[in-house]
């Protein structure tokens, strides 16, 4: 067994292509997704509807505009103009101060600020909202230091076009999912198919090795590599893009391992039905990758899909994994909230492990 694992690592480290896919891809993908989004919020066009026009509202407006993230595109005078302003397609965000904003804050200790974003591009919308809200919170903190009675600016977020903001911050959970799937399933299926192609599988089968020993020997190195990959992505997301990990990191990593094992067993299953590396590659592409990308909710919100596809999405392990990762990372929820999804994943894992051990032939053909 030890010899087997050593050999498998040698294969991986000797093959430049594999190494590139394994370690180049996560970095490139995360950076690509990440920067595609952050570039958007430099000089984003916004409009302001200031119904108060008092000192406080002016100060906040100045602060927002001087941050460098936003360009003032239009000054609105009436709420009816908001819809039309978005309709032109230039404006990404409208900031609305309620009438008597400064006065209310002074007297009642509370005033309302509304941030309306164009959520048809949910990632950008969310980032814009967070930036604006951050600036406003900074301002209110500064004010609080001087004033005794507590004051609060309540920020109300309104999403136009995609009010529930599906897909926000999806890029990290989605990327982790796709990459784990790719590395785990595709790589194992290809590496097993390669042994078949070379004929070495015949020799392994004729040896006293048991099927599960061959499987574990093949799979263990990839578990370690995939896990390393998941960590690399998380570190990148955290350091470069400030993606929060609000929940338990340990729970997140454990869930990743669960998903990796699931993907690996799918990979073994694929290898049992393919004879060549090329077949294994194509099967992984069409059976694993495309559904993962299209049906897991990574790119297209599941709620917007036609019913048959919504039902179909339930058998995508990646859908459940994305929900788990999102819940833990963004919402900061614990196992108590994701046990159902976890259970589904465990079930799928057992199913595929069982299937692949059973399908893994002790003989040829």
């Amino acid at each position: 067994m030890k010899g087997f694992i050593i050999k498998e690592f040698l294969h991986i480290f000797r093959d430049l292509r594999t190494m590139l896919i394994l370690f180049g891809m996560p970095v490139v993908q995360v950076l690509l997704f990440g920067f595609a989004i952050t570039n958007e919020i430099n000089h984003a066009s916004i409009a302001i509807l200031d119904q108060a026009k008092d000192e406080t509202s002016m100060k906040i407006t100045d602060k927002i505009l001087s941050s460098g993230y936003f360009d003032l595109n239009a000054v609105l005078t009436h709420p009816d103009q908001i819809e039309a302003a978005f309709g032109k397609g230039e404006i990404k965000e409208v900031i609305v101060f309620e009438p008597g904003f400064g006065r209310k804050l002074e007297k009642e200790g509370k005033a309302n600020l509304q941030i309306i974003t164009d959520a048809s591009d949910p990632n950008t919308a969310n980032l814009l909202f967070n930036y604006t809200a951050g600036i406003v919170r900074d301002y209110s903190r500064e004010m609080m230091e001087n004033k005794k009675p507590p004051m609060q600016i309540s920020i109300e977020s309104t999403m136009m076009y995609n009010p529930e903001l599906k897909g926000v911050f999806m890029f990290v959970p989605g990327t982790i999912t796709i990459l784990l799937m790719l590395v785990s399933a595709m790589m194992t299926s290809i590496s097993i198919a390669r042994e078949k192609e070379l004929g070495t599988m015949e020799v392994l089968l004729v040896s006293p090795l048991k099927p599960f020993q061959i499987i574990v020997g093949k799979v263990l190195p990839y578990i370690l590599l995939s896990f390393t990959n998941a960590v690399v992505i998380l570190v990148l997301a955290f350091t470069v893009f400030g993606m929060p990990i609000n929940g338990s990191l340990i729970l997140l990593l454990l869930q990743s391992i669960l998903f990796i094992v699931m993907a690996l067993s799918m990979g073994i299953f694929i290898s049992t039905v393919s004879q060549t590396q090329q077949q294994a590659m194509l099967l992984s592409m069409f059976v694993l990758m495309l559904p993962t990308i299209l049906l897991s909710g990574f790119i297209f919100p599941i709620e917007n899909m036609p019913l048959p596809l919504q039902i179909l999405s339930n058998i995508m392990p990646s859908k459940w994994f994305i929900i788990i990762v999102k819940s833990i990372m963004i919402k900061g929820l614990g196992i108590g909230y994701v046990w159902k999804e976890t259970l589904i994943l465990v079930g799928m894992t057992l199913f595929f492990v069982g299937l692949s051990v059973k399908k893994f032939n002790i003989r040829l053909g």
Binding site: G3, F4, I6, L10, R14, D15, T200, V206, S207, I362
Partner: protein, 315 residues
């Protein structure tokens, strides 16, 4: 308890539409160097896969050292060594890494069984840090054999170990097999090269999924029913067609730089050949009686029965 290492009884195997093996019966003795001789498509690989437990036969049984290939496949896998048709090596691993790996899956080490392979491995040991993919055909073949031997198998299966390998490497390989046999290992080897049959203790000539005959090479040659004459003349190219016209000719075919002539008349006089050729203008005619080879026998069996013949071989 008995002297048979491998026993095959009424073994048959078909793939979808093709009958790969038909009613194979062979008994191979312990310590024997046994050859399955036949072209591609004769069924050699299918037979070896059944014997190495990789395939189950449709009907019939096969036993290795008394163990049934279907029921006792696990025990068999501990005592056999197998070298599949294409040298199954990891091309991206070095010579030493390959050998180490195959030792490890049998829970042994190179050091422990070095004496078994030293004769073969010493040829490639100087290149032990070279990747297997960068070796020449002959060296790959030696490495693959070392890998198949490293766990001290009782029965060794070599499926076409000399295919695509040059004549020198082939000769060296057979010298190695002879040494191994003297260590008591039973060796089953398949090959499409007829001349290699002479190097086996016994051979089975295979064609189209059938065994045409089983015997020692000498006995097969001794059983050759007619005399073979080698013929040479100044017009080699025309010889084939022009010899056909001699009455009761059984076969005429090219054989190396001469033509082999067979006649089934019991009273045939080779002077007839000389006179016949002389009459139609050949000169430098040389006719000699020759010792038949396994290749002559093989073609004889192919002529004898249609079932050994693929359609289109109309001789």
């Amino acid at each position: 308890m008995n002297h048979s290492a491998v026993i095959l009884q009424n073994l048959s195997k078909s793939y979808k539409t093709v009958k790969a093996l038909t009613e194979i019966n062979v008994t191979i003795n312990k310590g024997e160097l046994f050859g399955f001789i036949g072209p591609d498509g004769a069924g050699k690989t299918t037979l070896f896969r059944i014997l190495t437990t990789l395939l189950n036969p449709d009907t019939g049984t096969a036993t290795i050292e008394g163990l049934n290939t279907v029921k006792d496949y696990k025990s068999i896998r501990n005592i056999v060594g197998y070298m599949p048709g294409r040298f199954s090596l990891y091309q991206d691993l070095t010579v030493e890494e390959n050998l180490k790996f195959f030792a490890s899956i049998y829970k042994t080490t190179i050091e422990e069984n070095y004496h078994l392979i030293s004769d073969i491995y010493k040829h490639i040991e100087p290149f032990k840090h070279r990747k297997a993919g960068k070796l020449s055909g002959g060296m790959k073949q030696k490495l693959a054999l070392s890998c198949a031997l490293i766990h001290k198998p009782e029965v060794l299966f070599l499926d076409e170990p000399t295919t695509g390998v040059d004549a020198v490497s082939r000769m060296e390989f057979w010298e190695m097999l002879k040494k191994l046999r003297s260590q008591g290992i039973t060796i089953l080897v398949s090959t499409p090269y007829m001349d290699e049959a002479a190097l086996c203790d016994r051979v089975a000539l295979m064609q189209n999924g059938h065994i045409m005959t089983i015997d020692t090479p000498d006995a097969i040659i001794g059983a050759f029913p007619v005399k073979i004459y080698t013929v040479r003349s100044n017009r080699m190219y025309h010889l084939l067609n022009e010899l056909q016209t001699i009455p009761e000719t059984e076969a005429v075919y090219r054989f190396g730089d001469v033509v082999h002539y067979l006649n089934h008349s019991e009273t045939f006089d080779p002077m007839i050949i000389t006179r016949h050729l002389d009459a139609i203008g050949h000169t430098e005619i040389v006719v000699k009686q020759a010792v038949p080879t396994i290749e002559d026998s093989f073609m004889l069996y192919m002529r004898k029965s249609d079932k050994f013949n693929i359609p289109g071989n109309d001789n």
